[in-house]
Symmetry: C2
Subunit: 124 residues, 2 copies
């Protein structure tokens, strides 16, 4: 089991060290990250896997407070899988609606682009 410094964890996850500390103090981690005798954080593989899940939720637009609720459920342990599932399904709905909206707006923009392409380089 490897264990990484915050700088290494930052590089692995694509987040900054600032953000990793912020996530931890904001209750997004499953538990406090372990410390070396120096007090420096040591990230385990489990930590990294969890951070990856957080990243997935975040970059699909889930607000921090919902990620925190999800983390709390997972932290509680077995027995609340129904709630976790409900939370993820609700998020999924939101994401799909958003994807559909963005896609349709993008199509309209593409139409505009086509018009300009004809103006700028007709017949290109």
């Amino acid at each position: 089991m490897t264990s990484l410094s915050i700088a290494e964890a930052a590089e692995q996850t694509g987040l900054t060290a600032h953000t990793l500390r912020y996530y931890e103090r904001d209750g997004l981690m499953l538990r406090s990250v372990e410390r070396a005798s120096s007090g420096h954080r040591r990230y385990t593989d489990d930590d990294l896997r969890w951070i990856q899940m957080v990243t997935r939720l975040r970059s699909t637009g889930m607000p921090i407070r919902d990620v925190r609720r999800y983390a709390a459920l997972v932290r509680e342990g077995e027995g609340n899988e129904g709630e976790r599932l409900a939370l993820l399904l609700a998020h999924r709905e939101v994401v799909e609606r958003q994807l559909a909206e963005v896609t349709s707006h993008l199509r309209a923009i593409d139409h505009k682009i086509a018009i300009y392409e004809n103006k700028v380089a007709p017949g290109a």
Copy 2:
């Protein structure tokens, strides 16, 4: 040609009156919206069409400052279609990259959902 009050324009566009005023003073409109003798804004069909374009750009994630630049180009009039096109194409790239990222993250979340569905109602 209809001409709408700010409340009607808000309803038509799905924005709030506050946001319409904000867009105007932030330079996102092509020109100052006309006024009734009372000083109240009167939105024309052209205004509404432009606001729709702004909404498309915004809800695909274009920052306000880029919308402002695009508005400035359109305001300048003919001759800079190349620049407008470049701006829209650059935006298109960003949006597509983002769509791809969100889609792939969503797939990973779906996988997690499937796991929970099996746990919660196995064989459902």
